[in-house]
């Protein structure tokens, strides 16, 4: 299973994004500044943005899901129960996992933004997709939820998972690192080799590397392990 981007170029007015490379099975992290084209990349890979040149070849990919930055984008149900059903999931299982079963009759738009994001992620991660694209999955979550989501994402082995984010502190364990630099999507490599080339690496990681303690990966546990190394 893999996705191959060959000379892909998307243009919107004065902005453009070029991409070339292959997404194999595993967890990929794509980082970049705001406005660099991360969300457009999510639309490109999911087939929802068709104004581009080049080609995107999806080998062995039969199911695709994209989770957008703003969870309101996904709402189609009038109650939480209906919303879970619209995903083809059991409402009790999903709502209990995010501690929202007591609010099953509530309109999703009445939830706080953090609760809505939790629900959306629980629905998205509740099924297996060959290609799962998560656009800013950590925004609006509190640190406890971020840690829990990072833990769940670290365990994903089947399929291609692409996490697109500008998060600076909490990350799941990932297999591949990419970065959007100067309007171009660049593959930096696997872990931990890619860390040296990561231009916008978080301060914690840069400090650890400067002290000669390159972490093996970027999850909080890996960073702590590197920090405690003698």
């Amino acid at each position: 299973m893999k996705i191959t981007m060959d000379s892909v170029r998307a243009i919107r007015g004065e902005w453009s994004l070029s991409a070339r490379g292959t997404f194999s099975e595993g967890v990929h992290l794509i980082t970049g500044n705001i406005g660099s084209g991360k969300s457009t990349l999510a639309l490109l890979l999911s087939g929802l943005f068709s104004s581009f040149s080049g080609s995107i070849d999806m080998e062995g990919v039969t199911s695709v899901m994209v989770s957008f930055q703003f969870p309101e984008s996904h709402i189609t149900g009038l109650t939480l129960e209906e919303e879970c059903t619209s995903w083809g999931l059991d409402p009790f299982t999903v709502l209990s996992s995010v501690k929202l079963y007591g609010k099953k009759e509530l309109n999703p738009l009445k939830l706080s933004r953090g609760e809505l994001k939790r629900l959306n992620l629980a629905c998205v991660l509740g099924r297996q997709y060959d290609l799962l694209i998560l656009d800013e999955p950590f925004s609006s979550l509190d640190v406890q939820e971020k840690e829990r989501v990072c833990h769940d994402l670290s365990l994903r082995k089947k399929g291609i998972t692409i996490i697109i984010t500008h998060e600076q502190t909490l990350f799941p364990r990932v297999d591949h690192l990419w970065e959007i630099q100067n309007c171009e999507l660049r593959y930096l490599g696997g872990m931990p080799e890619a860390l040296g080339a990561w231009q916008h690496a978080p301060g914690i990681i840069k400090n650890l590397m400067a002290a000669g303690r390159t972490p093996y990966n970027i999850s909080p546990e890996d960073l702590l392990e590197a920090a405690c190394r003698t």
């Binding site: 999911s46 929802l48 899901m65 994209v66 309101e72 984008s73 996904h74 709402i75 189609t76 149900g77 009038l78 619209s86 995903w87 083809g88 309109n107 738009l109």
Partner: protein, 217 residues
């Protein structure tokens, strides 16, 4: 038409002329062909579809119950085209400037701000609708007639939620009653010609044209 005062005035007289008679509707349609950016308006076609469906329905009833349905449909269609022209040409802050010019910086500002926020809300409703369609496509839900009511309810809820947020922002920015604004308008030669033509069409609609030609003979 750059001057919003002339544009709204022209829209009102043209709509009245189109409503009152088939001759008026025909002349207004010619005016629309000459003075508007037709292609850009027709690109907004999908916004007209629900209106056209409604118009066709009522026209059919009129035709079946007494006749005149076709005339009714054509006249309503022309009015919709004028409405689409006003919507397509609308620029930010125009309604606010118009309202302040007409009614002052208290009542006028309030009415104008209401109109501006209404127009913004309309644009956002269209974006919300597109988002719901994408969400349903991702979930494998077929969008059909049964989706209309749930989609409508979600759109209403979204609009109300945005209205709440807008109210918070207005409050925190110190909005109480009206505001300061110096309206600025730009009138071009084309605006004046178009307005005069609209006024001419309106007058002709009220003239007994056939009797005029009898007198001439």
């Amino acid at each position: 038409m750059q001057d919003v005062r002339l544009r709204i005035g022209a829209a009102i007289v043209l709509s009245l002329a189109a409503f009152l008679s088939i001759t008026g509707a025909f002349l207004v349609f010619i005016w629309w062909l000459v003075f508007t950016k037709r292609l850009q308006i027709l690109k907004q076609f999908r916004l007209m579809v629900p209106l056209m469906v409604l118009m066709a329905f009522f026209s059919a009833i009129v035709e079946l119950t007494g006749g005149g349905g076709l005339s009714y449909f054509f006249r309503m269609l022309v009015i919709v085209l004028i409405g689409m022209w006003v919507y397509q040409e609308q620029q930010s802050k125009e309604f606010l400037e118009l309202a302040v010019w007409m009614f002052g910086d208290r009542a006028g500002f309030e009415l104008g701000l209401l109109a501006e926020m209404g127009m913004q809300s309309l644009n956002l409703l269209v974006a919300d609708f597109d988002r719901i369609r994408i969400a349903e496509k991702l979930k494998g839900i077929f969008w059909g007639v049964v989706s209309i009511v749930p989609t409508g309810l979600i759109l209403v809820h979204g609009a109300l939620s945005r209205a709440d947020a807008a109210a918070d922002i207005l409050a925190v920015r110190g909005y109480h009653n009206g505001g300061t604004l110096c309206p600025e308008f730009r009138t071009t030669g084309t605006d004046i010609i178009g307005s005069l033509a609209a006024a001419g069409i309106f007058i002709i609609t009220f003239l007994p044209v056939s009797e005029f030609f009898i007198l001439y003979r």
